[in-house]
Every structure is written in structure tokens, then in C-alpha cells.
Symmetry: D3
Subunit: 237 residues, 6 copies
């Protein structure tokens, strides 16, 4: 099985890191195609970047499909372009935010999301409502740790995340979703240290993509995801 993991921004280091995380999640028989937009923003920070990454993201999905991808993962916690991608593709498409929330709701009655930027919170709030998890996820918290700081031990990022999750737990959260791909490496150790499920989206999405491919479920073409009339337009970007 081939799962394309599409980084919607143009930063190659991030694509590589996402590819590594995806490969760690993949089943033995699964090949990960780590791909990225060839144009557009180098990071997705808010809805403007989320809009401008879309041509590159959709081109990458089409390209991966030509490579034989059986499913696609949009590797941005905002799940930008999810509907467009599901209209474009006949294959399962998963957003990493969406995937993490679904798994969190299967192992907790209430969970929190811990993300980096405050400006992402309103988009996540919209997504949480749209997916149906508003009652499950009343706490969406921004750490305001710069992404690049996440992995410098002296930044104390991991400790700060741990403290945020524990505070959320005291207000009712029973699990935590990490709202930034850069936090993926912390998931396992935070789960163990904090004593509650801590869920990374890339991991969740790759696994759910395998699940949907295995089950043979594809996006319904009844309704909003009907095949678009103007796919060729992608060539113009």
C-alpha cells in the first residue's frame, strides 16, 4: 500500500521530518510517499498561508496519485484543503488534525488540543465544531513556543507542553492532541509521563489512511466532493 503524506508548505526539512514520522507509523507493507508543495508558503501560519498553499497541495496530491498512492494525508494540523482534496481524489484523504481528534475521541471523553500559535486557534475551533467534537474538546490551547524552539532542549518546550496538558487535565481533559507536527516526537514520552493518551496527528492519519484503504472506503462522490470539472486547471499554476 502507498500512502502519500503531503506537506502543504515548501520547507523540505519539514517534509523529511514528516516522512520519518509517517514511516514510523506505517504498517510493514506500506510505502510512505513524502511529498510537498513546490510553490506557496514555507509554513502554514493562519488562513492566508492556508489559502495560498492550496494549488501546490492539490498538485502534489495529483502527482502522488500518478505515482500510485492509495491514500493521501494532508500534513498540516489546520487540515487546509480537505474538501478540495476529497473532491479531486478518488482515494481516501485525511487531515492530520481530523485524524488525531477522531482517535482522541475513541480513548477519552474529553480531550484538549495543544498547538503553537494563538492565531491558529480560531481555525482549529472551526474544525473542532465542524467535525462534531465541540463537546469533546472545549480546550484549544496555544503554547506560543516558536516551532524552531521545540527541539532545543534548553527551550524547555517539552516541559511547557507537559505543564499545559496537566493544567488542561485539571479542567477535565482526559487526553491531549498535539496540534503541531513538530511536537510528534514528544507524544510517546508524554503519554507515559503524564499518564494519559497524547496523540500525534501524522501518526493518527497514516494509520487511519491504512484503515480506510484496507476497508475499501473512498470519499463519497455524492454531494460536495463530486469530481470537479476543471482538474486540468492545476497545470496552470
Amino acid at each position: 500500500m502507498r500512502i502519500a503524506v503531503i506537506n502543504p508548505n515548501t520547507t523540505e526539512a519539514m517534509t523529511e521530518a514528516i516522512g520519518v514520522a509517517a514511516a514510523r507509523a506505517a504498517a510493514p507493507g506500506t510505502t510512505i510517499l513524502a511529498r510537498q508543495a513546490t510553490r506557496g508558503p514555507e509554513a502554514i501560519e493562519g488562513p492566508f498561508d492556508g489559502a495560498l498553499c492550496l494549488p501546490g497541495l492539490l498538485q502534489a496530491i495529483r502527482g502522488a496519485e500518478a505515482e500510485g498512492a492509495d491514500a493521501h494525508v494532508i500534513a498540516c494540523f489546520d487540515d487546509t484543503g480537505l474538501d478540495a482534496a476529497r473532491a479531486l481524489s478518488e482515494r481516501p484523504v485525511l487531515g492530520v488534525g481530523e485524524a488525531a481528534m477522531h482517535l482522541a475521541s475513541l480513548v477519552s471523553q474529553q480531550f484538549c488540543i495543544v498547538t503553537t500559535l494563538s492565531r491558529s486557534v480560531p481555525t482549529l475551533r472551526q474544525n473542532v465544531r465542524r467535525y462534531g467534537f465541540a463537546d469533546r474538546c472545549p480546550q484549544i490551547l496555544a503554547s506560543d513556543i516558536p516551532v524552531l524552539e521545540l527541539h532545543r532542549p534548553e527551550s524547555g518546550a517539552r516541559e511547557k507542553l507537559a505543564a499545559m496538558i496537566l493544567a488542561a487535565r485539571d479542567r477535565g481533559a482526559e487526553a491531549a492532541v498535539l496540534g503541531c507536527a513538530g511536537m510528534a516526537d514528544f507524544a510517546a514520552s508524554l503519554t507515559e509521563d503524564l499518564g494519559l493518551p497524547v496523540i500525534d496527528g501524522v501518526d493518527a492519519a497514516v494509520r487511519l489512511a491504512e484503515t480506510l484503504v484496507g476497508a475499501g472506503h473512498r470519499p463519497s462522490k455524492i454531494g460536495g466532493w463530486a469530481r470537479p470539472a476543471r482538474v486540468a486547471l492545476l497545470d496552470a499554476f
Copy 2:
């Protein structure tokens, strides 16, 4: 006052028609700048088109801002790109769908939306929920009349719309929103014939744009619409 009315597709005839409708709505001192995307889909039919029109739409907004626009109207009933545009601009930005729903909720307790394509209904349903009008607007109906047929008298389009609205009224609708720019010309006569408010989005959005400009209200830069870091990226498309 200058109100830019941005057609997010590339069909000039539609831009002109929208410009005429906008001018009809505008106050005496208002100049309408009817602008359009210079690249992207020639019509917005579903979320794939809605995604690919965004670079052109955002470029047009930036261009209109350079021309001195005091506010922007996104002239697509799907309100595509609304968050991105509000992040990009310091000026009020209105979607025509959103605008029509706000006015409908001020003159009725329940309203329906009558649109053309079935594939647009899920996007409109998402928007209705997001804006807070789910209880107000339980009926979103697709006529499946091709847009080009709307104005051919022998197509019976106006009669078909009237019948749909009356049926919606019998199920509780007290007003109707026309979910397609091509229906704008019918609004006044349907209002009169059917005895209930029938609201066109371009008209509503131009008037609400004037309202916001007059009041001095601009999109909040706290949260998701904070000014993006990579505006210059628009030049690359």
C-alpha cells in the same frame, strides 16, 4: 467610498453583471470597483474550484486595496476565502452568502436558501452552521437549473424558483435567500409576488460593506486574522 466587488472566477461577463448589481445597491457617494481573478476557474462549482480561485481572488483584493478600496465583497455565494481575505486586508470584507443570511435573519425567524447546484449544498450547510444560522435556516435547496438557463424565459427558471420558495414557506420558511449571483434580478419581483422577503447576496453585501465602512469597523487583528507574514507571496502566482 470605494467598494471593491471581487468576482473570484475569471468569467468577465459575470464580473460585469455583478458590477451592475452592485452599482444598483450602492449609495450615491459609493464607487463600485468590479474586479476579478485573472487566473483560476471560470466558475466556482464546489470546493475544488473554491480552492483554486484563491490566489487570484487574494491578488484582486490586494489590487483593489491599491486602488483605494475601502471594503471588499467576495462575490461568490460559497464565501470562499473569507478568512484569508480578512487576514490579508485591513478593510471590511464581506461574503455575499454571509451578508444575505445576516439580513435574512433580521427580517425573518426562519429562512431558506435556494441555490443552483446540489454539490454546493454541503458547503453552504457548513457556512450556515459556522455563521450561527443553523436553527434559522434548516432548508438549503438546489434547483439544479443550469446557471446559463436562468435568464432564458422559456426555461421557466423564475417560476421554478417561485415554486421552490413557496414549498419552503409551507415547511416554515418566512424569507428566502437567493444562493446564486445569477438570480439577483429576480429578487425584487419575487419579493412582491410571493409576499415574503427574497434577498440577493450582492445587494446585501454591498450595503453591509457601506455600513461597516461608515461605522469604522475593521476586521479584528487579534486571533486568526492577524496580518500574514508572507503577503509578498502573492506576487509568485
Copy 3:
């Protein structure tokens, strides 16, 4: 165009102040008719006052209609009598609370309301839900500053409001609605000082009334606002 701004209480000084605020908001061609109930409570503090002001309020609307009013504004943030007024009148009727919330939802994704009395909060919470803004407006805050203190510089009222709005911003509010006519004078300067939209209801309602009159939209007479059978009863009060 003539916009009647109806103070539902009997305090003339308040009617005058509201008239001044309304005139400031009105377009050049608009005449403001500042009118008031001739009987009933001298202030609307809670639902009992909200009930007893209704005969006077409805009489004043009928009177204004006889003077040629094209629309009516109910100048009480509780929006008391809104349905009754829309049933009585063939003209647009706007509540100042409702109007402010609609504009706030066009320039922010989340807003707060800052009002004076704690006892008003439950009524505002009901209104927020009814209008569809429950997700948009999770914070309704009472300053418990007496209305008469609002404009005495030594009361520190403006500073207290500013502090409340900033605290609300830290909990997610991106804009603020002033829930008391007496706060109207602070809107512009708070907007500037705090860096987020601060919205006054009288201003919002006058502008939206002009919008609806300009667009020719009137309250639907299908459903709950059907013309009442016993209008003459107003003479008996």
C-alpha cells in the same frame, strides 16, 4: 429617510443622549426621530421593567410610524419587545443588542459583551443564543458600574471597561460589544486604544436600519410577525 429611535424607558435625558448618538451614526439624508415611551419604567433593569415598558414602546412605534418613520430602532440592549414590534410594524425594526452582535460577528470570530448590571446577563445570554451567536460570544460580562457613574471621570469607568475587555481578549475575544447605551461615547476611543473593534449598539442599529430600508427589506409577515388583529388595543393604555 426617517429612522425612529425609540427609548423604551421614560427618562428624557436618556432619549436625548440616544438621539445624539443616533444622529452621529445617521447618513446625511437620514432624519432621526428620537422618541420615548410616555409611561412605564424610567430604566430597563431586568425582565420586569422589560415587560412593563412594552405598551409605551409599542405606542411610540405606532406614533413614529404615523410621523412617517421608515424604520425603528429599539434603543435598549435587551432588545425587549422585538417580536411584538416586528408584528406591529410593516417597517424594519432593529434592536440595538441584536444589531451590535451582527456587526461584531462580521469583524471578529469571537466577541465579548460588556454590560453594566449582572441581572441583565441571563437575558443577554438568551438573546445571544436565539440570534445564533452562542459560539461567537461565550463571554458576557457585567461591570456593575452604576449607569450614572459611567461618565464621571473620577469613577474610572472607562479604565474599568478597558481592563475587562483586555481580560476577555486574553480568553479569546477578538472584539467587544458595549452592552449599555451609556457606554456609546467610549466606543471609538476604546477601539483605538485597545486595538480591536469595540461596537456600540445604537450606532450599529441606525446603520443597519438604513441598510434594510435601502434594500427594501421588511419583516416577513409569514409566521409569528403576522399583522396583529388587535392593534387598536394600544389606545387603551
Copy 4:
């Protein structure tokens, strides 16, 4: 125990009929005080009548309190004036619509409301949402049988109601609430004939009033129902 049952309209025959129904519901030790507004509309048909009955309704409540009433029932299915009455009184106050819905939700998972006038439906829909029963009561149906026809056997009113309830049952209703005092006499026989609970509001409200009095529960004076400052204003009407 004394339960005041207040007819908010001025039609004495209706007050008598309500008094009879209330007496039938009352426990042996309970005295029913059937009272009515001395001024205002002779029937409550929509929100305009609902507004104009309030001074008379509140005066009647104050009068009943002077007679020693231990609780009050507002005998109009719209529950008009409920918040004002709870602010005015230190005693339990129940609306007949509210009471019927509470009991219906204790003996069914979904119920319908069958009322007379279409124009009442939007107000009932608001009430259903406000009380929290929106999921429980998705069907609010108007028979459009004139109230005066209800009891003329040749009108077929009872049969029409039965048919409406059965149709609602086929769409999921497991119980029915009668949304008009004039239908009270049908409740018992419809329950038996249709094989599902059919609930009358006057009956429900009198019993719940006894329940609250017995339990010693009174309307909270924290919040919106705090004692009003201007009770004496009632003398002016």
C-alpha cells in the same frame, strides 16, 4: 395550598374553563384561584398580544399574591411574561407550555406539540429551544382549527388532532403535548385511543406548581429574576 391560575387574556369564559381544568388537576388540599387580566387582549394570538397582556398579567399575579397564593400558573401556552413574573414573585411560577414539555420529556424520548395557530409556531420553537427540548421536540404542528370550533362535534376537531398526532408518531413522536388550553378535554381520551401520552399544559402546570410548593423551591433571586426596583409601577396601568 393556593395555586393562582392566571389567564393572561380578558375573556371570562376562558378563565372559567381554565379554572375548571385546574381544579380537576389540583390535589384535595389545594384551592385554585382562577384569575385574569382586567385589561389587554381578549386572546393571545402572537407576540403583539403576548406583549400587551403583560401589565394585566403581572397585576393579576400581584393580586393573587395578596390573596395568599403559594404559586402561580400562567395559563397561556406561549408562556408569555414568565421571566417578568418570576422576577416579580417570590413564589414558584409556571408556564403551561413549559410544564407540559417537562412532563412530556419524562415519559417519552421525543414528543410533538400540536397547537392551533401557525403564527404561534415560531414563539413555541423559541421556547422549546430555550427550555432545552429542541432535540426532544422536533415537530411543532399547527392544526389551524379555530379555537371556537374545537368543541363543536361537527367540526371534526378531535379527529383532526388525532390524525395529526398519529402522523407525528410515524415520524418519531412518542408523546404529544396539546398546545392550546381549549384542547384540554381531549387529553385523556386521546391518550387512551392513540396509545401514547397526550399531555395538557394546565394540568401539568398545576401539578408542578404543587410539586415546587411542596418542596419549598422558589425562583432564584440571583441573576435575572432579582426583585425589581419598580413594582409600584403596576399601579399606573
Copy 5:
């Protein structure tokens, strides 16, 4: 009238205490049958206990019905087994949690629940949503006072509860529901001391059971509570 009050756990002392509380609530002509499960958990602490008590609970209901019970009260604040009991019985069945919430919503616009164990909060949150009171009851608070400590004066339990309710009041609660049968004795004095309604579930449920019996309302057998085919299975446990 005979009201069976069923303690779903096997602790006789608790059955007795519940019986005393129920008898205090009962009307003069009512006989309380205090019954309990003869097998199963000795306390209901979370959903596992809530599941294992069900055979005993349902047997006790069947037994009480054979004794002529006219209605049943499930005396556990989690309302465990409510749907099963309503399917089993032709008589009204009330949960004490449900009953307390209904009465609280008739004497306040917002109320809180104060319970003992944190692990009960998610179940109560589910119940609050299911009954329709999510907007009414945003605060569900756990005291984490061990049940056995509740009545030892030196534990300070009553003071701790009072402090929690006052804190909830400052966040908007206008009434309080006691979420543990062991707190019943505090209801009256807390009501008086704190100046807001404090409601005990056993008291509420007994009174509502009398109300439903008096009114002749029984659980609808249309839908999920249809009479089960395998009642005899109860003998096997």
C-alpha cells in the same frame, strides 16, 4: 399511592437513609417502598458499577411492581438503567439526577451540580446533555469528599459544599443540585444560608413521581421503551 424508591446498590444503610429522605418528601397518602438490589455493587462509583447493578435494579423494580408500586424512583444520581427500567415498567420511572435537574431548571436560569467523585462527572455531563440542560448547567463540580465523611462534623463537608456553591454562583449559577444522596440533609439549610435554591434528587424524584402518577402519565411504549420480549430473563440472575 405507592412509590418504590430503589437503591441500585446493596448497602442497606443507604437504602434506609434514602427511604427516610423519600418519606419526608412524600405526600400524606403516599407509601414509600424503599427497596434495593440484592446483588451487585455496594456503591455506584462510575460506569462499571453502573452496569453491574442493573440486573439487581431491574429485579427490584419488578418486585416493587408486584407489591403494587405506582411509580419507581432510581435512587442513584447517575440515573443508571433509566431506559431499561422505563422499557420494563408500565409505570412512571424517575432518576433522581434527572428529577433534580428538571426542578432546578424551573427555579433558575442556570444551575450547578455539586457531586462527590470526579469520576462521576463525565457520566453526569452526558446526562445533562441528553436531558437538554447543557446550556442551563455548565458547571458540574466534584467535591472529592468521601461519602462516609459527609456527615462527620469535623470533616467540614457542609462548609466545603457551601463554598463550592458560592464560587459557582459567582460564575453564574443561580441554583445548585446536590449530586449525591448523602448530601440530602444539607439541602434545606444550604438553601436558607446561601440564599438560592439547593435541590436534592430523592426529594425531587419522589415529588415528580407523585405528579406523574396523579396526572396518569406513563412511559410511552412507542419507540425505545416498548415492552421487552424477554422479561423472564430477570429470573436467571
Copy 6:
């Protein structure tokens, strides 16, 4: 990996059929342990059966855990006992209803559920709301085909299901969930014939169980699923 698939009723033929369906869904390295309750109802038809199956269901889960199960599937579309099982077990537990709904919401914007018994609809409606899919799944339809008829070709069951799904599609459903284990064999062919995803719960749950085990996610023990104090009680049943 070992996945226990627990039939909560006592009918062996059903356990076998479920085991076959589960084995078909399982990955190569997965062993299915098809287990069943040894006491309790022979079918789960409504909440009474749903309650009485719980001791047997929980015993079977404990037994499977002793056999080394890595996860548990509750093979009843009502998801009965889900919270109790998650409290009992340290391993992932999935209900087949829940699992099917999660997958449906990943491949459609709106889906319907097609089940057998009308009496199951209210329970499913509760579950749909609780999981967050109320907006996604407005149609829950009962075929009222007896389970035993499902596989007799002359019963026309498959054709009836197909017709129901197509009718649901015309009202907005983009995918269908089969609400009865006995329908599992139809899923693949209905998907193909009807042109939209048709999802079986056993298949979905086995795959999601593998997903959660693979990811290392276990039910949170913070909150309602904390380890119960009285597990040994299971021996008494």
C-alpha cells in the same frame, strides 16, 4: 495481535457469523477471538436487553483479556456497555456502531444509518448525539425487516435496504452505515451498486481496534473510565 470480538448476546450462530466477518476484516497478523456472553438475552432488542447483557459482556471481556486480547470490539450496533468496558479494560474498546460512524464521517459529509428495529432508533439517536455526529447523521431509518429474514433471497431484504439508502441519498445522505451485524454481507455489493460508501460496523471496529493497538493508544484512566474498585464482582454473576 489479538482482537476479541464480543457478541453481547448468547446466540452462538451470531457469534460465529460475527467471527467470520471480523476475520475477513483483520490484518494478516491479527487473530480474532470471537467470544460471547454466557448468560443474558439471546438478542439485543432495545435497552432492557442492552442492560441485561452487561454482566455477560463484561465477563467475556475479562475472559478475553486473560486470553491475551490486545483490544475488544463490542459487536452490537447499540454499543451497549461501552463506558463500563472502557473502565474495566486497559485495552482499546470499540463499539461497532461508533466505529462505523467514525469511518462514515471520514468519507462523507452526511450519512444515514439503516437499522432493523424501530425500537432501536432512539438509542442510536442518543449515541449519534453523544459521539458528535448529530449534524452528520440526521437520518436513522428502520427497515423493520426481521433479522432472520435478512438472508432469505425471497425476502427482498437487500432490495429493500438499497431502496431505503437511495431515498436517504435523495434527502442528502452521501454514505450509509448498516446498523445491524446481519447486514454485513451486503456492504460491499451495495457500495458498488449504489455508488456511495456503505459501511459495516464489525469491519470498521476490527480495523479501528488494530489502528489503536498499533498506535499504542489506550482508554484514558483520567475521569469516568478510571479503574473500578470492584472488578471481582464479576465472579458473582
